[in-house]
């Protein structure tokens, strides 16, 4: 029989090796899956890489995919560091997008240099307030933040559905329920061929890193995340810290939503978040809640996503196959965390050892 026991603390190097091994195993397992479909896995993997990098345009597309993942992951990072399980990234992205869209639709006459900061702030406020609701209830009534944030996702989603069928429906779309495309003044220009959201994302990465590592607020987040009793003991106002941090967490997600509508989609649709709020959790977690780690992980995820789309067209594999592949990789990479903390031992071996030792 196998038994699970805790292992001693591993060094950073050992953890790296375990994670790398998990990645290699994931590729092998994914390869078996591809092989079962009758396609050469090496070719598929090669196509993923080349698909993400084969041309300047491909690289630009990869970066474009990466932007929302990174920004959303940064938002999640803030809440998770405090052990506030904010899985409402989807909803916060959407609400940021909704708030920003209001100005894009109704103040399109403003020049870009005014509209851009206004939309950015609107995104921050929208996402932040949406995140503040579960935080307030948690602080006041002790509600469960996981369920609460999750359910708010659906409310936000259906709010967009309502807007596009009702008040914000494009009159020029012949009855098709869609929100009008943004005017040029409300869309982000391209820098180096990619919407300028990438600059915002990079700046945010640095800001979040500095905020968490070097500011009093960041220190408070770490302490509250470790133990609320310790935070109270240190004289911290735990409720205020929870509210503030959740607002910021939602605000960053809101920025993500704003960048999506203004930079990539150039309109608001129900697909604005499209699961990024959940992917962000995985990215932030894999990055060990380190903003620069998120940068790297989000980039890898973007390669996978962009590359798989090329695999789809080149090999005729359906979208679902790409999802399965992603799932396999995630399974291994997340599963390996288990081996960082625990290991298996064989019972029989131990029994034998005990008896042997007894005889000797």
């Amino acid at each position: 029989m196998l038994r699970v026991i805790k292992t001693e603390e591993k060094t950073a190097k050992q953890m790296m090796i375990i994670r790398l091994a998990a990645f290699v195993l994931a590729l092998a397992a994914g390869g078996l899956f591809i092989l079962a479909l009758g396609v050469n896995p090496l070719k598929v993997y090669g196509t993923i890489l080349s698909g993400a990098f084969r041309s300047k345009m491909a690289v630009q597309a990869t970066i474009k995919v990466m932007i929302p993942m990174l920004v959303a992951a940064l938002g999640v990072t803030l809440a998770f560091k405090m052990k506030f399980w904010n899985i409402g990234g989807e909803g916060q992205i959407i609400m940021g997008a909704v708030f920003a869209t209001y100005f894009a639709l109704y103040h399109a006459d403003w020049p870009f240099f005014i509209l851009f900061p206004v939309m950015l702030i609107a995104g921050i406020v929208g996402g932040g307030l949406w995140a503040l609701i579960p935080a307030l209830c948690k602080v006041r009534f002790g509600t469960n933040e996981t369920l609460f944030t999750l359910m708010l996702n659906y409310i936000a989603l259906y709010l967009v559905a309502y807007l596009q069928e009702g008040p914000w429906r494009d009159p020029a779309a012949n009855g098709f329920p869609k929100i009008p495309s943004f005017a040029a003044s409300a869309t982000l220009p391209k820098v180096l061929g990619v919407q300028m959201g990438w600059i915002v994302a990079l700046v945010l990465t640095v800001i979040v890193f500095v905020y968490m590592r070097y500011t009093k607020h960041g220190y408070e987040i770490s302490v509250v995340g470790q133990s609320q009793a310790t935070a109270a003991y240190a004289g911290m106002n735990v409720s205020r810290i929870v509210l503030r941090t959740m607002f910021l967490s939602g605000a960053v997600a809101g920025i993500c939503g704003m960048l999506q509508v203004s930079g990539s989609d150039k309109t608001l649709t129900t697909g604005v978040a499209g699961g990024i709020g959940f992917t962000a959790i995985i990215i932030a977690w894999l990055a060990q809640l380190n903003p620069f780690g998120s940068l790297v992980v989000a980039f890898l995820f973007a390669i996978l996503e962009k590359g798989s789309s090329v695999v789809q067209s080149d090999f005729g594999l359906s979208t679902d196959c790409a999802d399965v592949l992603q799932g396999i990789i995630l399974f291994f990479v997340l599963g390996c965390e288990f081996f960082i903390r625990y290991r298996f031992v064989r019972d029989n071996a131990r029994k034998a050892a005990a008896v042997k030792g007894g005889e000797g």
Binding site: I5, K6, T7, E8, E9, Y214, T215, K216, H217, G218, Y219, S222, V223, Q226, S227, A229, T230, A232, Y233, A234, G235, M236, N237, D347, R350, K351, A353, A354, V355, K356, G357, G358, E359, G360
Partner: protein
């Protein structure tokens, strides 16, 4: 599985004097840590063996191997003369071993007799029959308990009695108790020991795990000593004394005297007036207490665990709401203020809470992060300044000889003694005028305990008002100047530690009135 095995003590009557348990060369590793290294332990039927060792010496690991929770990496265990492989608690029970843990394994809403019969093989006895049977066992060893009483209505000592009855009911002849007296009053301890002696007469083998030397000498026939996982020696209790046992346990001669320097300038600095504190569930934790804390002395607080010590300390520190009354510091009432407001009043309050890693420290941070826990907010601007904290941490490492790979190593990876040095050290560095310490030596080895006593005495000499909430009466009586005794949240007496007797304090702990 358990049913197939015939219980050995039924199959072959165990003769007094024969080995009940015989461990030879038992070794157990956890990763790189050797928790037990070639340990020999024997106990005979009709004998009480004390297993003595400091925290982390491997006592509990050894017991867990006997109860089937862990498996030895090597070595042999013989039970009642037969080689035994104990793979689960079930196996252990079937071999006739009964364990009594510090945290009782009882179903709260069941009656005593239901708990006793729970999990025993065979048909369930009708209540009346069961009752007669339990009462019969009680009479046999001189226990008194109402079999129909429910666990949640019982005192700690009654619960322990039920645990013992569980063992007896199953006919188990080997009884292992893990620090059974930690939760008992002195009177209850005496009663427990009387029961254990009775069981010895009836041919049971008893192992009692403890680190209290007085109890070892009182109850045991032989003592097995472990130190850092290694088997040190087994001595006959009649031929040893406290000094020798301590030396064996610590590994070198240690002075057991605790200093008690003269009191300093005695000024009343903190005054609790009619303080009443209620727990969230509505129960009274502290019941209308009034006392004062004076500079230049150590005020000991004695009482059975859970008599309101925790709530009292936390209320003074601004962490627990009080229902009524006041805590006055130079005419300012601290009640209703949070720790930061209290410190803004200019109150230099040091607090070493009972839960060191869960309240006093941030477990995942290193010493640097922990040193600035209470002061991080002091510098102006949005940024933290780690430089002074780092300096303080390094000074503390030197001054208190703290063992840690670096000042950035998470404190949760440090040993208990070092964790306490970090916590107490930080509070002392903040130059408190009142220093409240809750169970500051709990779980610490002898060396670290003495470091703590010395630090507290130093503070007292600096005219700090020190409060020491303790559990070991001997230590309280040697270290404190005055001892305040709590019972069910009430103060039953405040006595002079220099003249009080242990009996007197023990009586106060259970609510007896102070004799005039």
């Amino acid at each position: 599985m358990a049913q197939q095995n015939t219980t050995p003590n039924q199959a072959e009557p165990s003769a007094v004097g024969e080995y009940a348990i015989e461990c030879r060369g038992v070794t157990k590793r956890f990763g790189t840590v050797v928790a037990n290294d070639g340990v020999d332990l024997t106990v005979r039927y009709g004998e009480i063996l004390a297993l003595l060792g400091e925290n982390g010496s491997g006592k509990t690991t050894l017991m867990n191997m006997l109860s089937g929770i862990y498996h030895p990496d090597s070595g042999s265990i013989r039970i009642a003369g037969k080689e035994a492989v104990i793979n689960s608690p079930e196996d252990s029970m079937a071999l006739g071993i009964g364990m009594i843990y510090q945290h009782f394994k009882l179903v709260d809403v069941f009656t005593a007799m239901d708990n006793i019969a729970l999990g025993t093989p065979g048909r369930r006895l009708p209540a009346r029959e069961l009752r007669t049977k339990v009462e019969g066992i009680c009479k046999g060893v001189g226990l008194t308990i109402d079999p129909a009483k429910r666990i949640y209505e019982m005192s700690v000592s009654e619960k322990q009695t039920v645990e013992i009855l569980k063992v007896l009911y199953r006919g188990q002849k080997i009884l292992i108790l893990d620090e059974p007296t930690a939760v008992l009053t002195p009177q209850e301890t005496d009663k427990l020991f009387a029961i254990l002696r009775r069981m010895r007469e009836q041919g049971c083998a008893v192992i009692i795990i403890t680190h209290k030397l007085g109890e070892v000498l009182d109850i045991s026939d032989r003592v097995t000593i472990l130190r850092r996982g290694k088997y040190i020696d087994t001595v006959n209790t009649a031929e040893t004394d406290e000094q020798q046992l301590t030396e064996l346990m610590v590994g070198r001669p240690v002075s057991l005297e605790i200093d008690r320097p003269e009191q300093g300038e005695l000024n009343s600095i903190l005054k609790a007036v009619d303080l009443t504190i209620r727990k969230p569930d509505g129960a009274i934790a502290v019941d209308d207490v009034s006392f004062e804390v004076r500079t230049g002395e150590i005020l000991g607080v004695a009482g059975i665990a859970g008599s309101g010590q925790k709530e009292l300390c936390e209320a003074i520190a601004g962490l627990y709401p009080a229902e009524k009354g006041a805590v006055l510091y130079r005419k300012e009432n601290l009640i209703g203020k949070n720790p930061r407001e209290i410190s803004r009043l200019g109150v230099h309050l040091g607090f070493v809470p009972e839960d060191r890693l869960g309240m006093g420290l941030v477990a995942s941070m290193g010493m640097v992060g922990n040193m600035m826990l209470k002061t991080y907010d002091a510098p102006k601007g949005p940024f933290i300044d780690t430089a002074p904290a780092r300096e303080q941490a390094e000074e503390l490492v030197d001054k208190l000889s703290i063992v840690t790979p670096s000042v950035d190593t998470p404190v949760r990876l440090m040993s208990g003694g070092n964790v306490q040095k970090v916590l107490l050290g930080r509070e002392i560095v903040s130059k408190p005028s009142v220093l409240i310490t809750a169970y500051p030596v709990r779980g610490l080895d002898i060396n670290s305990s003495y470091t703590v006593y010395d630090l507290l005495n130093e503070q007292k000499k600096d005219n700090v008002a020190v409060v020491y909430v303790g559990e070991d009466l001997d230590v309280l009586m040697e270290l404190s100047d005055r001892i305040m005794v709590l019972c069910h949240g009430k103060i039953t007496g405040i006595v002079d530690a220099r003249t009080a007797t242990k009996d007197q304090i023990a009586r106060l702990m259970v609510g007896g009135k102070e004799e005039a």
